[in-house]
Amino acid sequence: MSGSHALPLLLGVRHHGPGSARAVRAALDAVRPRAVLIEGPPEADALVPLVGDEEMRPPVALLAHAVDEPGRSAFWPLAEFSPEWVALRWAVENGVPARFVDLPATHVLALQGEEGTEEGAVEGADPADGGEAGSRPGDGPDGPDGVGGTGEEGETEGRAADMRVDPLAVLADAAGYDDPERWWEDVVEHRGAGEDPLAPFAAVEEAMGALREAYGTGGHDRDPVREAYMRLQVRAARKEFGDGIAVVCGAWHVPALRRKSTVAADRALLKGLPKVKTEMTWVPWTHRRLSRFSGYGAGIDSPGWYGHLFSAPDRPVERWMTKVAGLLREEDLHVSSAHVIEAVRLAETLAVMRGRPLPGLGETVDAVRAVMCEGSDVPLELVRDRLIVGDLLGEVPSTAPSVPLRRDLERQQRALRLKPEALERELELDLRKENDAARSRLLHRLRLLSVGWGEPTASRGGTGTFRETWRLRWEPELAVRVAEAGVWGTTVLAAAAATARAESDACDATALADVTALAERCLLADLPDALPTVMRALADRAALDTDVAHLAAALPALVRTLRYGDVRGTDTGALAEVAAGLAERIFVGLPPACTALDTEAATEMRRHVDAVHAAVGLLGGVPAVDPDGMRSRWHGVLGKLAARDTAAGVLRGRSVRLLLDDGALDTEEAARRMGLVLSPGTEPADAASWIEGFVGGGSGGLLLVHDERLLGLVDTWLTGVPAESFTDVLPLLRRTFSAYEPGVRRSLGELVRRGPAAGGGTAAAPAPGFAEDLDAARADAVLPVVRLLLGLDPDLDQDQRPDGPPDDSVEAAA
């Protein structure tokens, strides 16, 4: 057998191709090589024995990371149906040495650094993304593996790769296919086992040879270096084991490995490659991450389907349809055996019509949709999520070396002088200090990762926003948590950002407040990379939430966050935009939401109106928002609310009051409205609740003290309330007036005793102890003291907020 093929045996594969994997196994069984060489980082050679470990379950990934800089890392994911995995397993099972022959990770990571992938950038990206960014040369844009195309999504290097050749596209185009993926499936993956297990490899090699002749490296600049290294390794292995070795690598590289070249020439190519100290380990991987949907990973869109193709012993379509039926039945959808039969038939007929040798994923999906899902995409999504992609989570034996996240944490603990201690202790942080701020960020990030080392507690030393108190306690199981969190990334920052993003996706549609809280936590943990995603989620939830109360409850928190973010110096542009959008939605939805409410709901809503009013006022100070437009629209809403008869009295009264306070309504008009409500035509109970809305709360009494006309109106109305209604309105009135300061109550009482004659139609007479007008000189005298109290430098204040009203600064400082 070994005489029929060229030596050494080169098995060109497509990464994650089940057909390739089968073919590799058949070829290895037939040829029985004395050593297996695999495309991958040679540093992982020591980890090969773990492949045979009981606890090792694919999908897993080889992870390489720089020792001093865990953020710089690269992943080589392997699924059960990856040809490389199959080759590894074969080698371990047959006691044959297996070696990785690709360019060592030490160079790959060093090159990655040189290419200007700054630590921050890598950390900011998804964990796997950061890893694969330009660092998975074996997987991205080369050969049939290029089909998998990490190059397509999220790869920094890949973005520049538009001019690169996709070899499969060229071949598929020549064969008259418009979809390269489908072509490869038809020709390679779906082909049954032929007579000669080596024939497919010969054919692929020939095709790739023709391509390489035409396109050279096809724009994959690092390939010559990698291929030179591989050639050297192959040569060394032949010296050691003789010609009976097999090489499993991306099909694209096969012609280059076959090419004769001198040792000296290859060495020359490898000269002067930068190095960085690296470590390797196995990490668990998931099918979801293999899939392209999640935006990173090795870039195949149907790992579950591939896994099925690889593991099904025969009749893959029938077995697949049965699986789908089983899943749909679990979800209580009625799928009978007849459905399965019809689906298989439809898939096969479709394949014939489309001229394909076997039904592929496209045909089976179409058939499932038409037969089992009644044309609907909703159950189909389930099939896609659970079966086509799949939930499979890999496992790695505990003997595998520890994850880089742990290292990063230890490094930061040293740098911040924050030792993990089992004993509980309290930690006071002053956020104005650089080191303390960094500590706070670390603790907040760990909290996001559910590593509960520190719990925030109420500060004893006051309520300043620059102070934080933590209760620290390191428990041994936290180490396990850290290891678990290793899935999210290689550094605390990256992992926390990834978690926050995942959480924002996971929050269900009703939990607007949850997302707001998450946004707040992102700001505390200083995760600017996660914030946009969270903001998106927040904006989406807000857009779909139909309950104005939810929106109104979320807005104040958001505006607070905005203010707080300002204090910390974070960029909050996106936040301001979302807050403004939220406000607009509230403006539109509020008037209809205020109709037909019972007393309790109306009181609740009144709180929301007040909160929104305060928030709108605060928003006015944010530069990204157009404050005047927003304020005037809010006034419009309040005006509408005040005039709406179906709205509860308390809300109408409150609206008029808020308008009056803002100066959007003059006293005349307010008095007219009040007169209207308090006229005899109105139900006394309704009028009383209007009054509660209008003059309720702390400052309402002063208003009555100062505007005797209003007081007169109330007085006239109250004396006119019929006896039988009086007992009904009494509790309401008592609630309203008992909230006033004793002094105010006394003044009011005096005014009322003096009689209504003083008020009424004539201009308001000055209250006892007050002059007609402000005494400007005396008022000015107070100002310096107020400034001193608020700690405001008048000049600075002028600079920062040229047109900010003074009350605004007061709120900011508070």
Binding site: L346, T349, D366, G375, F587
Partner: protein, 384 residues
Amino acid sequence: MSVSIEPTSVTAVSDDSAPAKGAKNEQALRPHAEDAFAQELQALAAADDRPRPARWKMSPWAVATYLLGGTLDDGTVISPKYVGPRRIVEVAVTTLATDRALLLLGVPGTAKTWVSEHLAAAVSGDSTLLVQGTAGTPEEAIRYGWNYAQLLAHGPSRDALVPSPVMRAMGEGTIARVEELTRIPADVQDTLITILSEKTLPIPELGEEVQAVRGFNLIATANDRDRGVNDLSSALRRRFNTVVLPLPESPEAEVEIVSRRVDQLGRSLELPQAPDGIDEIRRVVTVFRELRDGLTTDGRTKLKTPSGTLSTAEAISVVTNGLALAAHFGDGVLRPADVAAGILGAVVRDPAADRVIWQEYLETVVRERDGWKDFYRACREVSA
């Protein structure tokens, strides 16, 4: 008059009447698909060398080409009848080639009837075997009725029988069509079960049955929005492969469909040509799509979806309406104000909930958009 259900005689009849039919169609307000596109069908059948299922006029592949359009080897251009995903047409045609019936689902205005007519025309060369589903569709419309004069005069016999379109299709081995299946009362719907599963229609009065000839199949259409009116029983549902016809995928495609259709309608209504209409059409289509999808076109903002269907057909009527307004009461140019009222009417179906949704959309999306000031103002005016 009795209608024979022997396939041979039917073929003979249709051969004889072909020229007469053609002449008649010159006058027809709307010719049948098989007449309007007779040339294309002939060219396709001639060029088609792939295997054909029994009694099909052409191979499944050719049917798909007829619907989706293309150019034949001899240079004949086949116009696209359906603009949409290829997948849908392929699944539909393949279903007809198996013995499962085809159910076309979709919101109003997604060309369900149009597709079903063209499928029948291409497969059987006859799209006229049609049962229109209504709340009052009787069982006779699906099985058979009696010619009572004959029945009284000669007693029950095949001659006294008035076959339904479905029964004729069974005998001839052609495609029958049922429109608006879900509007038919449930008990009447269920008469289809035997026909679709046993492929036979018993006539107990005569002690006979009609067995479906190879080539028989059934295309039903149903409206998505009617769900729950007369839902199909699961027994019947199981006999169908379901294909959902989607709304146009890209905005360009929809603008194209709308402007083409508006143009045709405008000509038949003899409205003056509007010069700059395309911008307004694009705007209407954008508004409809965004509200329908619950997402702005830039994909950045989610939106609530109103209760109306907002189909392409409605967009067409909004624009046509606007054109009429512009022509008769405006300056002849389609302006934002001309379409604003129409859009409001189409969007706000439920006065409470939809109005909030519409205003939210106006305030959060339209107001900020560049070049949409006029439109915003016009909409504000009509919504106030």
